[in-house]
């Protein structure tokens, strides 16, 4: 299977679908996953870094940071460590550290919300398509195929470019980009599970479709979908900041890493280091989520 957003070949091997469904799945499996993760210091480090960035963004207003909107012509483009400004100031004299922390709010919003929404929508569509098969499957999956025909960056740029900039349109664009691949994963996992004996058995006892989906299917589909979705967060962070960089995402003066990178580019000869910081923030965030998802995948891959 091929991942639409990166073209990456998904080599995920999920937990074995134990007959009896989600509740009956061995506790040993999850305990093993947790144990393996605990021993993976590399992944734990990036997990801590990601949590720090998220936490900073969440509690930014209570950190006692300088006002990220307060401009000052006397203090523009000051270097790192300039008095009162941990990471210097931007082209309008605003505190860069504060803007980076606040910028995390929009950048993470664009990184996480679309993935969550796409997981819910795409996952549900995939389960429905996989479970009901035939015409329903045909309809849903063929529509997904059409969206698959657009490279991710192109689709995101096309949607936010035509609808106009703004956070909302950016969220819509990114969500639409991620739905097809999540839908495909959910669909193929559902198809596999549906073929298993215990579903037939549940059917025979007269369980309704929805209760079968709820009790047997969702639990088993969830794992591959969530693991895959976790790898999409870094893609979404990169893409979302990229949209803002092109002037299609978050609009100024709201701080956002992509938009900050784009406007600080003008001053790159004055303070190259300062101007590189928003890019570095994007890089570190994306890196953390990638390592976390990689660690998660390794921990869950029972074969490894």
């Amino acid at each position: 299977m091929t991942d639409i957003t990166t073209g990456n070949t998904i080599t995920f091997q999920g937990p074995p679908a134990v007959s009896g469904g989600a509740e009956a799945r061995s506790r040993g499996y999850w305990a093993g996953v947790a144990r393996r993760l605990r021993h993976d210091r590399f992944t734990l480090f990036f997990l801590a870094l990601a949590l720090l960035i998220i936490l900073g963004a969440l509690i930014a207003p209570w950190l006692g940071l300088p006002d990220p909107f307060q401009t000052s012509m006397a203090r523009r483009l000051k270097p790192i460590g300039f008095k009162g400004h941990l990471l210097g100031t931007d082209e309008l004299g605003r505190d860069l550290f504060s803007r980076l922390v606040y910028g995390g709010r929009t950048s993470l919003l664009l990184g996480i919300v679309p993935v969550v929404l796409a997981t819910l929508i795409g996952g549900l569509l995939g389960v429905v398509a996989g479970f009901f098969g035939r015409g329903v499957n045909m309809l849903i999956m063929r529509v997904m195929d059409v969206f698959y025909a657009f490279p991710s960056v192109l689709l995101a740029v096309a949607i936010s470019g035509t609808l106009g900039g703004g956070i909302l349109n950016g969220l819509i664009a990114l969500t639409l980009v991620f739905i097809p691949s999540l839908c495909r994963i959910a669909e193929s996992a559902t198809v596999q599970i549906r073929a298993l004996d215990y579903i037939e058995a549940a059917r025979a006892t007269g369980a309704s479709n929805w209760s079968i989906i709820r009790t047997h299917v969702i639990g088993n589909v969830l794992t591959p979908v969530v693991v895959y979705a976790s790898s999409l967060i870094s893609v979404a962070v990169l893409l979302g900041a990229g949209l803002s960089f092109l002037g299609l995402g978050v609009e100024p003066p709201t701080p956002d890493w992509g938009q900050m990178l784009s406007s600080l580019r003008q001053s790159i000869y004055v303070q190259p280091l300062i101007c590189a910081l928003p890019g570095l923030a994007i890089f570190l965030t994306s890196l953390s989520f990638n390592f976390i998802s990689d660690g998660l995948r390794r921990a869950m891959d029972v074969k490894a």
Binding site: G7, A149, F150, S152
Partner: protein, 318 residues
Amino acid sequence: MIGYIIKRMLYIIPVCLGVTAVCFALMYLAPGDPAQALLPPDATPEDAAYLLRLYGFDQPVWVQYGRWVLRAASGDLGVSLQSQRPVFREVMSALGNTAVLSAGAVLLAFVLAFILGTVAAYNIGSRIDQASTTLSITGVSVPNYWLGIVLVIVFAVELGWLPAAGMGSAGSDSFSLTDWAQLRYAILPIITMSVLPLGIIMRSVRASVAEALGQESIQLLRAKGLPPYAILTHAVKNAFPQILAVMGLQFGFLVGGSILVETIFNWPGTGFLLGKAILTRDVPLLQGTILVLSISFVIINLVVDVLQSIFDPRVRRT
């Protein structure tokens, strides 16, 4: 085999139709009036109405869509509102420029990824393997629009080794990759673009070579005491169809997603064209560019699938 290929080719027809519908719907949902961008601020409403009529924007939406699809099928994507040049010709010439960068980036990524991935696969679990995995994850995490800026500062401005932007004095018409004076313009954008596929191809080379090394036939060769390079050759041969598929897809993604890198390097390809069309609300150009790019992507995927099924009949996607 032939049956599969024909089926696969027929299948792209409904997909392409769906793509046209999406492209058209996007433009229809877009706010703003396409005539407005063409007129001076104090033009009269009659002038706006005249232009809308001239370009057929006053027709019912399904009539507009039908006309557009029929003309598009014959390679006529209309005329750019701004430049008055035929959209098809514009997009096609830009596509060539984008292909130069994308192909260069995929090739560069492939060469590096191949070496690193094979070495990692042969030494699985070692320090080298861990380092190359880390490198591949780093590759997919770098925002290339940031990397491009950093490269320009270092190599174009500070060191002055390479040009910062554009395609060189000869331009795209006679752009030749065998001429260093022109090739040097492509180097920084190609490096910038190659980082993402480098990470992905490396991962896939590592996985497929490692898988091939684990196969019984190769284990047998190993047991027979064949030298490492001979074993590797075998393993690589087995892994090749899979690697080829990943490369092809990466090429498709780069062609479609070149807007960021082309914006930074002023490279006159499709991404640059797309940015311009968005900025100027040039509806026919925007529709045409998106359509051509997504259909190219579909075709590249088709070619990849067909090639892969020829090399490795086990893999047949529907």
